[in-house]
Symmetry: C2
DNA sequence: TTGTACGCGTTATCAG
DNA sequence: CTGATAACGCGTACAA
């Protein structure tokens, strides 16, 4: 129960506390014989280092906080995985909090992180309306890096990709397939910056292709299978329904494809569906999903690397890295047929 | 940078440290006026409670450690989600580590958790060969609960389900569909107890139905889409290939279905595929997957509840809860046709 | 190579 | 209701 302390080990060994401490952190400063003796004793007594006391004494922690919208939904799992591994490699633990896309939850988490004096924080996206909190956080000395977004005019470090460009490309691709009414099912762009930027990319591509923007064709929803399905159902029940639907996440796309099937529509013969994320499953589903590949894992890894540099003071200024995305063409989209109105 | 401390707040307020502390933890013991004054001051000075120091002083932490095999793979995400929410509700933070199904990684994580003197630990499964470590852990005073498994003769608390029974039922169902050669694609049962129990359930159901156990029909692999696909390909290339395949996880099942499709086989017309987990996606894929529903989220929630009881000393003895599973019949399995040998 | 001694920011125990 | 003060377990100058 009551664990043995360094102090006690020292006493047992007839050494000072400092020597025992050095045994752990700077063994090269200890005479090999002593080292051996102390180690043996620690093993024998079942000594376990107290990281809390250590962190406290050193006045810095070795845990990194991570904020993600949701632990479900595969795609964040990928960046989280990247974060995990890199952090482990660098000797940091992770404390993870999910917000459920809720601003208040995020604020609460952020406070918790401050209370724990975490070494650094990785934010998924840059909450609209939370600029102040985050700036204050940084000013308070906790290094921060944002993933999944590129930030303009903000002193923050980030490693992201252009949500605008990615959405633009996919929409443009759909237009190149001769689709003129392109639906858009998107996450909560009112609150989430990266979703908003995807909307902008979509609109921009429409414009470039001389296509009108039809507000009724864009649906804002939560990025779940269920919502994707329901949104698609709405789109399909329109009198002049879209011939292609661009979903703001693969989850939404899968839900959408499911809705199409239920309605007796074939993808891509009767309607094209494109996704965003390229989660593993996109390549294995039926039909395989055309989607935007996002460097999720890499973002996670690089975010940790940068964060650790900041933590260790090797880097003072903010790092800004923008990774490329890529359209992965599989089988869920195809050229629009003239007169493709199918029985509904 | 250097945050203000309780001490300083006390000085500023002309009060004692103790009173300020009480302001936070037992406001009812403080005169309303004083309370108000202190709170105002804390807000003004941007005081942020130091949870590390608090935990250290109190000699217990308010962080729960969670060990999962992988952050990818959807299904653990569900139990993790349950854990998250419940923990948050109870005022605990989470530190999450993933092992990648690797025993050494798990041990390392466990050590880290001990070093941080975490309040409690939730293990996913009960690593074969790690009995000692875990028992020592418990003896050292860290409450532990295992999820995803039911444990026999072990002093540990758990909240799980019968992997044996679940696999038995599904196999039995497949047999009732007149399948006589039932393939099994399973996670690493050599190392993972719950996978091993699924294998046992499968064998037992075979026996009950008078079916021979054919070792070549069971494939041990990692539970990923890719491995599911490859395993299925192997199964399908056999001269006397199975007419139904039971996958030990939905991921494997999706991979398997993909392999079947690539070979020109239709599911379920040409071959039946069943999964295990019932992740969200199972209901939305094509065809919708027949699978075993596992109470993932509930396991997570209940595990936290039990753990917190243990932490707070309300419960001394181990709690053992077994949740039910259920077969969800969708469209990926059907009765075997006589003479169903299709062109391969 | 080793030891001494102080500090880290709270909590908790006693008095008042 | 409030105050003093001793822990808590370790890191780290500074000395020896």
């Amino acid at each position: 129960m009551a664990r043995i302390t360094m102090q006690q080990i020292a006493a047992l060994a007839g050494l000072s506390l400092a020597t025992v401490s050095r045994t752990i952190h700077s063994p090269h400063l200890v005479k090999p014989g002593t080292l051996e003796q102390v180690r043996r004793l620690m093993a024998k007594e079942g000594y376990v280092y107290n990281a809390t006391a250590g962190d406290f004494s050193r006045r810095r922690s070795s845990v990194i906080g991570v904020i993600i919208p949701t632990t479900r939904g595969a795609i964040f799992a990928n960046s989280t995985q990247g974060i995990q591994e890199k952090a482990q490699e660098k000797g940091f633990s992770l404390i993870i909090g999910s917000t459920g896309y809720d601003a208040e939850a995020e604020l609460k988490l952020l406070l918790q992180f401050q209370e724990r004096r975490l070494a650094g924080i990785i934010l998924t996206g840059y909450g609209i309306g939370r600029e102040n909190v985050i700036k204050e956080l940084v000013k308070s000395g906790i290094p921060c890096v944002v993933v999944w977004e590129v930030l303009k005019n903000s002193g923050l470090s980030f490693v992201g990709f252009s949500n605008f460009q990615a959405a633009f490309s996919m929409t443009d691709y759909l237009a190149s397939l001769n689709h003129r009414r392109i639906g858009l099912i998107l996450g909560p762009y009112s609150r989430i910056g990266r979703a908003r930027r995807r909307l902008e990319g979509y609109r921009s591509a429409l414009q470039k292709n001389g296509l009108p923007f039809a507000p009724e064709l864009v649906i804002e929803t939560m990025p779940t299978l269920k919502d994707g399905k329901e949104s698609m159902a709405r789109l399909l029940s329109m009198s002049d329904r879209p011939t292609a639907v661009f979903a703001g996440s693969d989850m939404l796309a899968f839900g959408a494809m499911s809705a199409a099937r239920e309605r007796g529509l074939r993808v891509p013969d009767d309607i094209s569906v494109a996704g965003f994320d390229d989660i593993d499953f996109a390549a294995y589903c039926n039909p395989p999903l055309t989607t935007v590949r996002v460097p999720a894992r890499e973002m996670g890894e690089r975010a940790v690397s940068i964060l650790v540099e900041m933590i260790e003071g090797k880097s003072r200024k903010d790092r800004r890295v923008e990774l490329p995305t890529e359209i992965v063409i599989r089988e869920s989209c195809r050229e629009r047929k003239e007169r493709s109105r199918v029985k509904t």
